[in-house]
């Protein structure tokens, strides 16, 4: 067995659990998707006709377009026992959002010990429903209208954006995810208005994304006329919270035209940019630097070590165009370092290592932080934070949230170090 085709076929022929997919359910889901897509297209065309007739030239905060309502009506009940949380985002310390998918049959949490080895229940991952909490995750409101996003982003309290699957464009919500509307692209803007969130939108899978300002109230988004001098390839038509913002100062990690890892920085809300290359791995396989925001102007850039792809390289912003090494990576063995971290309330960068194993039932994590003032990163154990969480979210006013993927419990922290379940406050 020395042929690559045979090796691949051999792996593909491994025994797997029985499939729970049924033709009827998939056909029905496909037809729902088609209906949503057609409704969105009809609305977009209607909006385009209105815009052409009116000759409207909209600016941020300007006249509001007539947005289509592509979604289905909100679900009137809150999350049930078969609704599975897949994502969390925070607008501020009190306004938190969770996205749910609906699963058939068994209740969560699922475990092979209690429900056999046939696998977890079938879940419809083409319909996400958002619920809002106005008390920091203690209680939750009704589920919103289903959407099928590649990514969800919280733009502020009550305001969310979703990049819809299947070329449906950008959807926005101003009622905490209860209803969704299509957003249309407006003319380019020279600068990001004060406080406006920035996303990075790509037109195609292989295209670099465009730094974009979103105005969810006007149902509009606007590309910055002067794009950063680095290219960011999200890999999908993704909407990600791209640029880290501190007043008018913006940062975004990416690659220069010749492929070097770098951070682009703007002191004037995107009117002009300077690019600072970082001493990090430049190979195509290495992800570009990611800028992580913390309190009090603390900013870090995290990339891959130029000498060892199993190690990270962390830098702390020390002034315009200046990035200083922020602690040394450990010399011992580490697993996969996830491309995310967070900055705790004391300004320390916490990085996450994903510990994969084929022989355990779930991937677990280990957290690393350098001591205050620098030095080598060492393992840390923030009290109360499970080793099974999706990326830690930091709200604009400095509250921390994390969703555990093992038991789907939302955890909350005031400083990024001491954690407790959000529902137990």
């Amino acid at each position: 067995m020395t042929d690559l085709r045979e090796l691949l076929a051999d792996v593909a022929g491994e025994p797997g659990p029985p499939s729970r997919l049924t033709s009827d359910a998939l056909f029905a889901a496909g037809r729902r998707r088609r209906a949503r897509r057609r409704a969105a297209l009809t609305g977009a065309l209607a909006g385009l006709v209105v815009a052409v007739v009116a000759g409207a030239a909209t600016v941020v905060g300007g006249p509001q377009a007539a947005p289509p309502r592509p979604g289905e009506p909100p679900v009137t009940a809150g999350p049930g026992a078969t609704d599975l949380v897949q994502w969390v985002g925070a607008g501020d310390a009190e306004h938190v959002y969770q996205a749910y998918i609906r699963c058939a049959g068994s209740e969560w949490p699922w475990s092979p010990a209690t429900q056999g080895t046939a696998g977890p229940p079938a879940c419809d991952k083409s319909r996400f429903m958002v619920a809002e909490s106005a008390d920091g995750g203690r209680t939750w409101g009704a589920l919103g209208a289903p959407v099928d996003p590649e990514g969800l982003v919280v733009l502020g309290p009550g305001r969310l954006a979703a990049l819809a699957q299947g070329g449906l464009g950008l959807l926005v919500s101003t009622d905490g995810g209860a209803t969704w509307s299509s957003a249309a692209r407006g003319p380019d803007v020279v600068a990001a208005p004060a406080g406006a969130p920035l996303l990075c939108l790509a037109d195609a899978v292989d295209a670099p994304c465009t730094l974009t300002v979103v105005d969810p109230v006007a149902h509009r988004y606007f590309a910055l006329a002067e794009q950063p001098g680095v290219k960011v390839f999200p890999g999908v038509r993704a909407a990600v919270p791209a640029a880290v913002r501190d007043g008018d100062r913006l940062w975004i990690g990416g690659r220069t035209g010749d492929g070097r890892p770098a951070v682009a920085e703007s002191p004037d809300a995107g009117r002009s940019w300077t690019v600072t290359p970082l001493p990090a791995c430049a190979a195509a396989e290495c992800p570009p630097p990611e800028v992580v925001a913390g309190p009090s102007g603390v900013r870090y850039a995290v990339a891959t070590s130029p000498t060892d792809r199993q190690r990270w390289a962390a830098f702390r912003w020390s002034g315009p165009g200046r990035w200083e090494p922020a602690g040394a990576a450990p010399t011992g063995p580490v697993g996969t370092v996830v491309g995310w971290g967070y900055v705790a309330g004391d300004g320390r960068l916490v990085l996450v290592e994903l510990r994969r194993s084929a022989r355990v039932d779930i991937d677990r994590q280990r957290y690393w932080a350098a001591p205050p003032g620098g030095g080598q990163f060492v393992p840390v154990s923030p009290p109360g934070l499970p080793d099974t969480v999706y990326p830690v979210q930091r709200s604009a006013d400095g509250c921390y949230y994390a969703l555990s993927y093992s038991d789907r419990v939302l955890y909350r922290s005031a400083d990024g170090w001491r954690w407790s379940p959000a529902g137990s406050r």
Binding site: R5, P15, G30, R31, E150, G151, L152, G235, A238, Y390
Partner: protein
């Protein structure tokens, strides 16, 4: 309504014939049976959405493959990146008639495949499992022919490095172009 019922029947026939093959390709891409199930679900939902636009059987396979590969690449970048794996080992319902050496070899190769970046893995699966040419692979991935060539070369080089001397000759004679 009658047309809808007929389309439902045709879709059901195609689904019954191709589900397992699509699911196995998905498993090669992601290395996790439950994730493979999700990817298969996404691909067939998109097929049902576009069923009336794609009738030719050959085109159906290409359509589903494109949906599958792009859904996989998209999932690797989703905000809710997958971390959970409900259980690590599949149930031992069906065990291929392999000796321990073949099992070890398969496990070794599967581990190496899982360590490749998603785009390289998808490229190798399209080229050497689906046996697509460069242009067909580029169409499935939504990228240029040049990107397919470079990703193929990088993927093969990475596999050789990961496998080292463990599978001598496994990739000999396999080119990056």
């Amino acid at each position: 309504m009658r047309g809808d019922a007929e389309e439902r029947r045709q879709f059901g026939e195609y689904f019954a014939a191709r589900r397992d093959a699509v699911r196995r390709t998905a498993y090669l891409l992601c290395g996790d049976w439950h994730w493979a199930e999700d990817l298969t679900q996404v691909a067939f939902i998109r097929l049902a959405d576009g069923w009336s636009r794609v009738r030719d059987r050959q085109a159906l396979d290409a359509f589903v493959r494109t949906c599958l590969v792009r859904a996989y690449l998209s999932e690797t970048r989703r905000l809710w990146r997958r971390r959970e794996r409900p259980y690590g080992d599949p149930p031992e319902a069906v065990v291929p008639d392999d000796g321990p050496e073949a099992l070890a070899q398969r496990e070794l190769f599967a581990r190496a495949l899982r360590r490749l970046p998603p785009r390289q893995r998808a490229t190798l699966v399209c080229r050497y499992y689906q046996e697509l040419d460069v242009a067909e692979t580029a169409a499935a991935l939504g990228c240029s022919v040049g990107t397919v060539k470079s990703q193929t070369a990088r993927g093969l080089a990475a596999l050789r490095e990961l496998l080292g001397d463990e599978l001598p000759g496994a990739l000999s004679g396999v080119g990056g172009r």
